[in-house]
Each structure stands twice: as C-alpha cells, then as structure tokens.
Amino acid sequence: MPAPTDRLYTKEHEWVKIDGANATIGISDHAQSALGDIVYVELPKPGATLAQGKPIGVIESVKAVSDIYAPISGTVTEVNGAVEDDPAKVNADPYGTGWLAKITITNADEAKSLLDAASYEQFLKSEDH
C-alpha cells in the first residue's frame, strides 16, 4: 500500500493528516506490517498534551511492544475507541478506520520537519537493504 499523499510522516512510522488547526494521527502501513497482528493499543486521554517526538502511547503486537510518538505537538481532542476495542483495525486499515487520535495543533511550524509521502517512501527504501 503506497503512502497516501494527503498526509505527512515521521521516521518512527507515524502519519499525521493536518486539516487547518486540527490533525489526525495514526501509524503507517509499513508499521502495522512490521508489528504483525496487533493485540493492544494504549492511547493518550482526551485533554492530554503531546510534545513532538515524545512517546504518547503504546502498540503491542504478538511479538513486540512499540511506543507511539507524537508526530507533532498538540492537545488530544478525541481517541479512537473502536481501535482500543478491536486493535485488528489498525492492521486492516491503518490510514482509515485504524486512526488513533485527533488533536488540535499547537505549533504548525513543526510540520516542516516531517516527511511527505514521497520522502517517506524513499526513507523506507533506504532502511530496507
């Protein structure tokens, strides 16, 4: 699944889809594939403050536990309860119904340090030698 071009990416394989002052966060298809079957997702609470690059939650698969890092700073407005209840959604539809959290952005400039879809694909290629 190629990385959708309507969003930005981090080297930790999170994506952020910015819509004005708001954004939605999730993990990439590469991430869900590398993790394997996801069995648990721990998300921040609504109202929580996120700092770019800092861990905000955890995704656990059958073989590993991975931290989720904030791609951009903001305040959590909503988390995806459906994914907490059925973590398999993140595997099935990481860019759609497998979204993790919605936030209001506090520093729009931070988006400049993120990768666009093409750069992210390039990054993935370089990682996989």
Binding site: V39, Y40, E60, V62, K63, A64, V65
Partner: protein, 453 residues
Amino acid sequence: MHAPHTDRDVREMLDVIGAPSLASLAAPPKGLEVKGAFDVAPALPEALAFAHLTELANNNLGARMTSFIGAGAYRHYQPPAVPYLATRSEFITAYTPYQAEASQGSLQAIFEWQTYICLLTGLDVSNASLYDGSTALVEGVIMASQATGRRRVAISRSVHPGYRAVLDTYARGMGIEVVELPVGEDLLVDMKSAAVKDLVAGAGAIIVQSPNFFGCIEDVAGAAALAGAAGALTIQVIVEAMSLGALKTPAECGADIAVGEAQSFGLPVGYGGPYVGFVATTKQHVRRLPGRLVGETHDVDGRKAYVLTLQGREQHIRRELASSNICTNQALCALFATIYLATVGAHGLRSIAAANMARARELRAAVLTVPGMRPAGSAPFFNEFVVHTPLPAALLTERMVRRGILAGVDLSRWYPDMPQSLLLCATELTSADDIARFAGALATEIDNAVAAV
C-alpha cells in the same frame, strides 16, 4: 561423565570440521589460559558421590527433629501422587513452552495453575507463577506503583520480616519509599487508627499479610476501605497458602492484588526452596501482571490449544517505573502445587485446613498449661500463634534443640522489642504425641532454668 564421545567420534568430527584438535577449537586465546589447578575436588565415581551426598543429608539433624517452625515455610503432607507425576521426564526436562505445538502439556498445566490461584483468591486473573512469595510481594508493589503513579507504599510491620527485607532491597534500588504501619499489642494493625490513616495518605498501596507473620488474621477489609479512600491499591500477602482453604478470600475482603507463597501445596520445605510465588489481580490490572501468562486459543485445525501470551510486555522497557525483568516462572513447582490441589480437591483441602486449625489449637492449649507461658493477645488465627515465655525465647529454643525439638521461632531475631516471644506452628502432621512431648519438655526446661537462678 555424560558426554558420549569416543576418541574415534572426536577424530571423525574434527575431520569434518577441518580442525586439527579439540584445543584448536575450544582453547581460550593467549593470556586467558588458566594457570595452576582449580580448587575443585577430583571427580567421584557415581556410587561414591551418592554416598557422599547421603552423608551430607544425614548430617542435617534438623530434618529429623520434631518441628513447630512455620514462619514462611510449612511442613505439610505431600501425597506421593504429587512427586510421582510431577517428576515425570516430560515435565521435569522440558524447556519453557515457547513452541506451543511442542508444549501443550506444560501449557495446559500452567493454565490450570492460573485457574486454581484465581479460584483460591477469588480474583480474576493470575500469572504462570513467580519465584517465591517474597519476590511476588515486590512484583505486587511494582504493579500498584505503576497503576497509581505513586512511588510510596505502606506495609504492615506484621508482614513477614524476611519479605520486608527483600522489599527494602528492591525499593532502595528502584527509588520506592516504604513506610511501616505499626502493630499493636494484639499483634494486629489497627486499621481504624488515625496514625495508620496518616501513614497511608499518598501511598500507592497498603500491604497487609493475613494470616500475618504472628499467625493472626488481619482486618483486610478495613485495609481495603482505607486504601480506597486514599486512592491506593490493597495488596494482601498470603504466606501460608493452606489458609486459602478456609479463610475469607482476598477478593471477598476487597483486595486488588493478592500475592504470596504456594509452597504449602505439595512442595517440601527443602531448606528454602525452590518454592513458588503467585500473583492474582482484577481484570483491570491484567496488563501489569509480570512474567509469563498462558491463554487459551485454537490452532489452524480448530483444536483447543494453550499458548504463552502477552509476551510483548515481558521485557519491554517502559520509561516510567520499569516493569519486572522476570524471565522465568517456577513451572515445575507450580506443577507440584497444581497436582497437589487436584489430588486433594476441595473436600481434601478443607479437611486438611481444619486439621491444621485443630492441631494448632491443641498445641496452644497444651503450651499455655505450662507455668510461666502466656498468650500473646487473642486474635483469631489459622495454624500459627505467638506465646510469651518466662525466659528469653532464644535460650528456650536452644535448650529444646538439644532435646530434638525445633520449638518454633524466637521473635527477637526480627523484633528486638520481643525477646520473650515464640512463634509456634502446628500442621496436620503434628501429632498429639508431638504436642505432649513438647509441652512436657518445655515445662522441664523452664523449671530447670528457674531453679538454676
């Protein structure tokens, strides 16, 4: 020697490898060869080794003495079916059940152990076992600290002192503050006192052992109420697992976490181990359970199967208080306990528990007929209790050893403010003869000591 290689085997294998000698493969690099001889006795042929170990075993007089010591390790009847089944090759020489297809025996047995611990404690989930009761207490503290975000716990002074010393070791290393809840003359914590309430404020857990180290049944429900008001979790410690056959469960008392020692279920006292620790908790805290967990699932053909689960969390390093580093459980010891519980069943466990209670009351009554011996409070107890002695308990126990009797434990060893107190235990293995002999010997020794003054 158990390696099978003949000289011919070695030569043929070296040829295939293309190496000239064993030394060329195994010898250490220059500078690391061992100079001189090791301080290790020369090899003994098997029969001599057997004889030597027989002699060492015979040299443990305490194993043959009439014993009234409990204090964290309990002498109970081990039905022969337990070791007979548990020490089968396929259990004892199996590896950790990481390959589910090759380990359904071990995995189902652990699933059954987890179930037994839940049924006995009344709580929702349990893990595949821990090293022992003392490290189980530490794990419980870590769980409560993670759950509440607080690095302070309050522990009753009537929790086994050996367990508290272990907690102190870990707490120092992990930056957890441990405050002690005082114990009254009645050998219980007064859960209604203002002092205790103050000490609990800001703690992540209240830890109370019941029956406590002195044998007394504590007010765990009272502790749970205090904890609830303070936003803390309640951890009940159980050191004499046999008490779970009779007493109110941790769940019934409102405990959030139960930790303890299951040695009483079919394991010998064995000079300290191995034993088997357990931890149980409510569903809410399942992710905080340390160590291994076995869950039920299906295989590709739809067969019911058991498998280690939630392994991702096991050695993952979290940024706040780090989770446990436990890698192993005590699988074989948990198996002993599981087979014990299966063998005795509910009706057996209840009757054995009742026998413990009966013998302990007979022992206490007999001991209190000896002039100079006084009861230590009147709190309800299971199979252990404290009595006050007219002479230093250390002196009395030493005299009794000479008579082949292990007269309980001198409490001053851990509670310097109690130099004339003995902790005594009776189990279903204590006979009326044992009790009569003990009371008689005690009376004589006290007489002699008093006369000598």
